[in-house]
Subunit: 309 residues, 3 copies
């Protein structure tokens, strides 16, 4: 393996700009935080605000814990009781938080690329971390996903990885397919064909679920995002589970060492059988645990940013 | 007094399983925290989440303060902006919090015995503290109640204690009657007879309010829980106050050393006359203060849990 | 300049009772906190609760940051999930927070003079800080405003200061006109004449906007408070901007050293042209930054209160 290099980035918007070596650095950094019993205490004068304009438990709370493990001060922010209710824009809200001393703003927002106007502002000083932008990207989830795969297999080269389900609406799918492809994995897709489109063809091929389960190393299931579907579902939950889900029967066809991932929250008995959530080959609970350490790596990275001379 | 023994318990669900000696230990522990100026700093790597699915000021905030006085890290949790809004269950929410590093979950939930499925899970590692389960129990309130009585009288033996009001809907009534009975107090009940049922006969007798006030040592008033009554109230607030409430006139019939308790929030001029809330014999403000120290005793107890070999 | 004297006050309700010397002390204290790199660590056993019954970002969050920079413990409080939802009054809520250990309550409430009953209570021990009372006062905003002016000009004597806009509904206008007048500034008012009334005549005169811009040193714009107007607006946003707003054209008439203030959130292109928010003469971002340090001065002041013998 080549020498890993720390990415020098003020903001953390996407994994896309990072080289393979930088991605491996971030993974190693996260795993190092996981193994450490002592956490950095260098950040006790750092203020961070988490602006979540969409409901979240995992991402929101694991950022909160990551920040506290770094020794940072967390400024609570609730969109529902902020001046956003008086019509204040995201730009003016972040400008305010920057002015009153927030060093980092972690933002989840329903608008794709919400961060664009924030990065260009001469008055906004804070580091921006993208915790999910509409149907855009979700880089901290991608990082914890690849960290969990790396922790299991020690490498990406030649791994067969399936991404299955709500491909069109999933931030995770879009982030992950580009990154896993760059890291050397072979990708496969499954799920309803109407949610599969040409963009995915560049990264991997569509395979029917019954065949897919027999040969992949990683079965990455996506959440059916009921809240992003405008029309009635085209199929019932039972139908979805039978056609595209990881049923108990399909799981038995998986290779011995193959693992199951899911970003959660799981729609139990839809994407996968409820009993598989805590099954031996499931890494869903591990993903959640790793999420804290992945986010510590992200926070640490932006805080080490050095402006070029 | 026999030697007190610290209860060894991973979770804190009810006072019911504790012996008299264990209950007295918890009381003494709480009173010791009250007298101390310095608080334990051993818990600064402990993460605790407070999951309140019902509105609360006293219980929620006194747990928050207790946790901070113990030096713990509090992870904010708001049901209204969590993935519960995407349909995530309590089980999956606690599984998540456990996975991302919560050592303790303090939970108030509208469902009776919500904790059952949590205690059996092999994947959920966190200590569970019951901060009120539907119409079930409310053990931290019970502990602060008995702590306040003990602080006043130094013993329970032979004390005459009245529990008055909304017996049927009250978590406090059910927790307290069993515990106070075990500790040696003599119990009496009053309030609307339709809210009194056979379960109470095992612990004490129903006495009319006008007689009751003349001889009890402790007058424990319950809150009329408008939010748990499905039908229209059978009586107006004035009628309730006149028939079952602690009026200014009735209060004058009380013994010199008798005290008034109420878990609060008080419906002023319903359960008791507004002026009695801060009257000399009221211990309602003391109850609130003691609530913080009772909860410190609870947090300390579960953190001292040792798995048996 | 005379020797400055620290105000001795248990509560912080209004700037009105303070002498000129006390006001200058508060300003100097705030500016000293701004220059310091190290903050007081003497307050780590102090508990503070922020009770905001109206939406807020700036005031709420800058109090939060100020408290944490003082090393205080912040107890989160959300009106929407508190027992206020069960009908509990502000008095009983503050009584509870006082009983469970809050040393300071910072309160914003929609009712004018909400604090009156709190100050008289024998049972409520906490310091009360007024973070805005209905259409009453907003003293922490006033302090940050005068601190920003003082930082710029080093004195108030002879300064020409305009307060422009929604005079009738503005807490800021009422607080500021009295204080700036006391500090020796000359005041002018502008905006819709129907929002100007006799009370303002004691402090300064009404001047048409086109004339006003040419000679003032400080142009203090007020927010049009859509949420406090009961009827339909009498003018469109464009009309308001043209008649009473600080347009790009008017701004060019301002003196070289003149500055623009606005308490924010700004209704962009209503009170002032959007491009002026971050213009060179704007001190709107500085106001936000100074708000944290002004609030540190307030917190420090009430904590130094000594009861007279």
């Amino acid at each position: 393996m080549k020498t890993l290099s720390a990415p020098n980035t003020k903001h953390f918007i996407s994994l896309d700009p990072f080289s393979k070596e930088e991605l491996l650095y971030l993974i190693q950094k996260g795993l190092a935080f996981k193994q450490a019993n002592e956490w950095p205490q260098a950040y006790q004068h750092v203020f961070v605000a988490n602006l979540f304009f969409e409901n979240s438990t995992r991402t929101h709370k694991s950022f909160e814990i990551a920040e506290r493990k770094m020794g940072m001060n967390v400024i609570p922010f609730e969109a529902s009781t902020s001046s956003v209710q008086k019509g204040e824009t995201l730009y003016d809200t972040v400008l305010t938080l920057s002015a009153i001393g927030a060093d980092i703003c972690v933002i989840r927002h329903y608008e794709e690329a919400f961060y664009k106007e924030l990065l260009d502002s001469p008055s906004i000083q804070t580091h921006i971390i993208n915790a999910g932008d509409g149907s855009g990207e979700h880089p901290s989830q991608s990082l914890l996903d690849i960290m969990t795969i790396y922790e299991e297999f020690g490498s990406f080269e030649g791994l067969h990885i399936a991404i299955v389900g709500d491909l069109r609406h999933s931030r995770v799918a879009k982030s992950n397919m580009k990154i896993l492809h760059r890291l050397g994995a072979r990708l496969y897709f499954s799920g309803p064909k109407e949610w599969f489109d040409d963009r995915f063809n560049d990264y991997g091929q569509y395979v029917d679920m019954d065949e897919l389960v027999t040969f992949v190393d990683v079965m990455m299931m996506l959440r059916v995002q009921h809240e992003r579907h405008e029309n009635q579902e085209q199929f019932s939950k039972t139908q979805y589970h039978q056609q595209y889900g990881l049923t108990l029967i399909r799981e038995q066809q998986m290779k011995d060492q193959a693992i199951i991932l899911h970003p959660a929250p799981v729609n139990r008995d839809v994407e996968l059988a409820s009993d598989l959530v805590e099954a031996p080959r499931s890494r869903i609970v591990t993903q959640m645990s790793n999420g804290v350490f992945a986010r510590m790596a992200i926070l640490d990275t932006v805080m080490h940013y050095k402006e070029e001379a």
